[in-house]
Amino acid sequence: MVGRFWFTSPVFGTITYNKTPMELTLGSWLLSFLPILTVIILMLLFKWGALRASAMSWLVAVAVSLIAFGGSWLILAWSQVKALVLAANLLAIVWGALLLYSLASEAGTLRAIGLSIPRLSSDRSIQLLLIAWLLTSFLQGMGGFGVAVAVCAPILVGMGYDPILSIVMTTIGHAWAVSFGGMASAFESLIAVTHVSGMLIAPYSAILFAISFVPTGVIITLLGSGWKGVRHAFPAILAVSFTTGASLYLLNTNGFWSLSTIGPSLVGIATLVLLTRLPGYQGTKIAILNGNQEMNTWNVLVRLTPYILLVAIGFAVALIKPLNTLLNRVSISFPYPEITSGLGFVTPAESSPVIHPLSHPGMVLLVSVLLSYIVLRHEGMLNKNSPRRILSLTMHNLVDASLGMIVMAGVSTTMTHVGMTSTLARGIAETVSKVIYPALVPFVGVIGAFLTGTNNNSNILFGALQAEAASLLKLNIPLILAAQQAGGSMGSVMSPTKLIVGCITVGLGGQEGKVLRKLIGYGLIPITIIAIATAIWSWLLNGGA
């Protein structure tokens, strides 16, 4: 096919092939799919780590682009620069979140939270929901990195639950919380790669996650307390699902998605605490011991300083208009030129997303860390060696995570700039029915996150593809992206990299396969419900066509 061919996408504008486009054949589609297939095969069959498989995928993407898609070193250079800008925006959040986690870990904050929760109620079902569902979600909102399971699963084991079930319950409990956890870095990455406004995606995202709340609560209670426990706790599950879902929707629709895990988790905890005042959920409260010392409220509150400050500063920056305006005066954006591949695939001139460094979530995290350090040091909960240990823990964790994100972003931008993503999307649009496709979207997100270990990387890898496929199929793009986001969130908690962390903490090191089999069976239930909801919603939005 020679000549001028074009199509208009609401996401990418007019995409024009001026010369000879890569004709859509099975061969060209498979070549475009090769980098993704590389990640899948290397991780699933050869058990490679995410970083190593991503690096191989990068080499494959570059080779295919140079050989078959008219790529050049100039395109490669621009792709990498764009990938760096994309990754830097997200890494500022990830680094800040990791620093906050290291500080909280050093000050004993996570232990204090774990010890305090059972004090709220002695009802087993309520305790289970508090720890496996809401505390895990709250901790995920603070930082993630497998912390939620690592902290909460041992608490459940200590309460007498089976170690495998403890991992499964805590993992499923916070599966929804990944997308907006860690100051919503995964959601920001979806916005960055697709250029679709977060305000458009966020409401769909809130509703899709809210749909999964009741099944999540039921699964946790069923596993921990059986059907009798489900019947006992069901009114509480409904109440928590409603208040948590409503607060998630309110935060998202008002643009506060960086707090859309912390906020709803706290609302859920408050709801359950209120419910413990009801006769059906009351129990005998027992003293909580930290070593031989009973923990008092003040002790717990001081240890919670990093998270209290994070919520306070986060809300202040977002809600206090004069402060927000002042901080947003400083902004950074980079102009990118038009880029044309050797086959004539044109990426129009564009600007990078505008970054406001002073109101950026990374800055909010950094300020919270600095202020918390002063308070915790003053209260004697940190010593003079603490900064060294905090920085060392942060640095050791962030290097590989940063490399992985940069390399994965490089794969995505390289594929996008030579038309490989476009070819994949055209292939999907021409072969998959527009009624079926929305139901497949969350599972694509799951696969991406399961393989790469993070919701971030799943969104970077598949976000642009999903948006373009949705555009070609004339589907509602924000809904499809919300479904990708939901799948990515739920897939990331089941990824082997995170399972390893959780299994070690409950003495199941080396038995990840056994846990994974149990986890997949239950974990796929909320994902399937979201997939069905997406398909029905998409069908309704298309007027039943």
Binding site: R52, A55, W73, A77, V407
Partner: protein
């Protein structure tokens, strides 16, 4: 003073991270200002850094 295996791996990873961050910018400069030799060297190091990740990570 010899470094432990862990420290060596960490330092090499750090070096690769710096390479992957800085070299695309150098490559872009070289290509835009017509320095082909610099461009070739930069792109070779960039690719070698990725190959290191594939082989040793």
């Amino acid at each position: 003073m010899s470094l432990s295996k862990g420290s060596k791996k960490f330092r090499i990873s750090m070096l690769i991270l710096i390479i992957e961050v800085l070299l695309p910018l150098v490559l872009l400069y070289a290509l835009n200002h017509n320095y082909p030799m610099l461009g070739r060297i930069t792109s070779a190091i960039l690719v070698l850094g990725i190959i290191y990740l594939v082989v040793f990570k």
